[in-house]
């Protein structure tokens, strides 16, 4: 397999049904899907077809499942967006939660700067104890 074939193959799923690899890294020597797919990619490359066009051709033949990962358009875009949207939502919730918790924290009756100084002093003393 040439690096050029591997480059395109890495974007295509091996649909042999027994592995979850890509056409570019499927290790099965006699794989009934990856081997012909690699030959097809090589032939198209010899005919100066671009990577994007090769992928389009294979997707036209095999369906969108030929792609190793969901396309970034239409409904499949959700596959990419949702994990990060979940993190963003989690962060929003967390900031709301922290704000709410802080609002309910015991009110300091002394100047915060004084408190801060005491905290620093305690930490320095503790660090000294550790040494």
């Amino acid at each position: 397999m040439t690096p050029a074939v591997q480059r395109v193959g890495m974007k295509l799923a091996c649909l042999c049904g027994t592995c979850k690899n890509t056409v570019g890294d499927c290790p099965m020597l006699m794989c009934h899907y990856s081997m012909p797919a690699r030959e097809q990619i090589a032939k198209l490359q010899e005919a100066s077809v671009s990577d994007a066009e090769i992928i389009k051709t294979i997707v036209r033949e095999q369906g969108v499942q030929a792609l190793a990962s969901p396309p970034t358009e239409g409904f499949s875009l959700l596959a990419w967006v949702m994990p990060f949207a979940a993190i963003a939502l989690g962060l929003l919730f967390l900031s709301w939660f922290i704000k709410r918790q802080r609002a309910h924290a015991p009110a300091a009756e002394v100047d915060p700067r004084v408190l801060e100084r005491y905290h620093d002093q305690i930490e320095k003393d503790t660090a000294r104890l550790d040494q």
Binding site: K20, P27, S69, F75, W80, A107, H119, D120
Partner: protein, 670 residues
Amino acid sequence: MENIGALAILLAFCLAVYAAVASVAGKLFKKPFLGASGERAVYAVWILLTVASGILVYSLMKGDFRLAYVAEHSNQGMRGIYKFTAWWGGQEGSLLLWSWLLSSYSVVAVFTNRRKLRNMMPYVTGILMTTEAFFLMLVTFVASPFQVLMAGRGIVDAGDGSGLSPLLQYWTMVAHPPMLYLGYVGFTVPFAFAMASLITRQPGDGWIHTTRRWAIVTWLFQSTGILLGAGWAYAVLGWGGYWGWDPVENASFLPWLTGTAFLHSVMMQEKKGMMKVWNIILVSATFFLCIFGTMLTRSGLVSSVHAFAQSDIGNYFIGFLAVGIAAVAILLLNRLDFLKSEASLEGVVSRESSFLFNNLVLLASCFAVLWGTLFPVISEWVTGDKISVDAPFYNRVMVPIGLFLMFLTGVGPLIAWRRSSLESLRRAFLAPTIAGAALMAVLAAFGVWQHPYALISFGLCMFVAATIVIEFWKGATAIRAKDGTNLALSMVELTHRNTRRYGGYLVHMGIVVLFIGFTGSAFNKNRTVEVAPGDSFQIGRYQIALANSQDGENSNYIWRKITLNVKKEGAAIATLTPERRFYKASQESTTEVAIRRRLREDLYLNYAGVSKDSQKAVIQAFVFPLVSCIWCGYWVLLFGTLICLIPPKVRLQYPKTEVVGIARKHAVET
């Protein structure tokens, strides 16, 4: 014999139902004898399931090919150990193993608490036995391992069986499924205690203290099961992969993530009385994800090479999950008043906040994996199009999340409880940051900048490792100064004083080593060649020559080995003998790879077949840098987890923030 086995399972099912009903009824109607008989029924269930399991194992070992299960999953030529492992090699047997493990856990939980927690235990028994009854219902009525082969009205003896899949005839497969099941099943116990605590409105954190060790041990079993599975894939599948983001692999990873979040989050409840609702949600999510994972392996919901034969068993699991989740949600909503926090978050930059972030990222990882696993099903349902969600998707989504998690692993222990000042942060972060940045600079100079994720990962690993080493160093030097002992003894003393904290740091170190192993995959090399005897080829620093080939046969399979002499920089360093096997019963061929394992890199040789003209051997050669760190990381993780389980020398009392004045007023209002 099989009738006794089937009867034992049926009786166990009836007794599990009785135990669940009697223990709860005894409590509700104040009839202690009912509760006591319910608890005794738990022991009876275990005895009956041990008998049933014993009969199945005996049938497998003896080769009773009248039983469909024995005929499908074993054969005469298999080695004894693999005949034994056929117990969990198929759907029916593995469900029996699940049930037996749960009954064993239940016996331990009931026995160790026979004089404690009398208010909660009836409900704990009820929940454990309800889950047990569900699985026994499946084993009794849906997937019995004691079905006999029938022809018309007569029982047929198949004479021999089709054998366990050759891929499963490998030593890690002996331990991988039981370990994973011990993890899956084990989380039922903390879940049962959590629910019982909610039902009985137990004051304090009793359920957490009672189940802390359960949760840690269960988590360790899950980790061990996952790593054994990875080890099996690495050594058996012939391409050196240890994780392929297969749906069934993902199913084992999901409860591990929520379980890890739970183990961190309970510290907030123990030390600060916070996150009570969250901990209930986490322990419930972990339990339900264990059930979900069990379902995913058996239902055919998603396609996987690891799944058992497809069946309609998934519908029962969906029913159980739906009822269970609804019941927990209702109970939780009903008990919200009982789960109020006893303290508030005092500083944004605090250990508490870092735990919150840690939980967020672990849960986000869990969601991302679950989403990727189910998205093909969702997409097909919504659009009608089948799509593939393979490794490239997970690598792009999970690698940044994993790196952020690694960053938090380093940051968390550096931040003080309640709040940290900027000065203390600067002091704590300076050395680890310099160490991480220095390593990144050195690696970048050696060309690693071409792999930015790998560069960041190595830098973060160094950062986290430095934080851990500094923590040990500071503590040990303080003890050495006071007691005058040497540094090694001081470290032992330090760890013994607070086993949970320092054991936890060791677990983190194990994760660091694991990450180093994962990162090494960015530098993998591979080459496929056809060679005749006497020919040689080069991969990486190795020159490999084919010496000869040998053939042979035993009762189970036909084999052919090739001998490969390996040289490095002209010097002979090893002789490796990869092998191909053809299993007679299943008519399947497999490869037995030869691996030269070293800490720096593994040389991995697979005898993949013969050339079209049958004159040459086809060899796939791989070099996997740092992959041994994955297995070493596991041992460090195991060691750290075992330390966590040792009782500390100094019994720690966690003073909780007292809720007073304005805060108390707010707490009451909310």
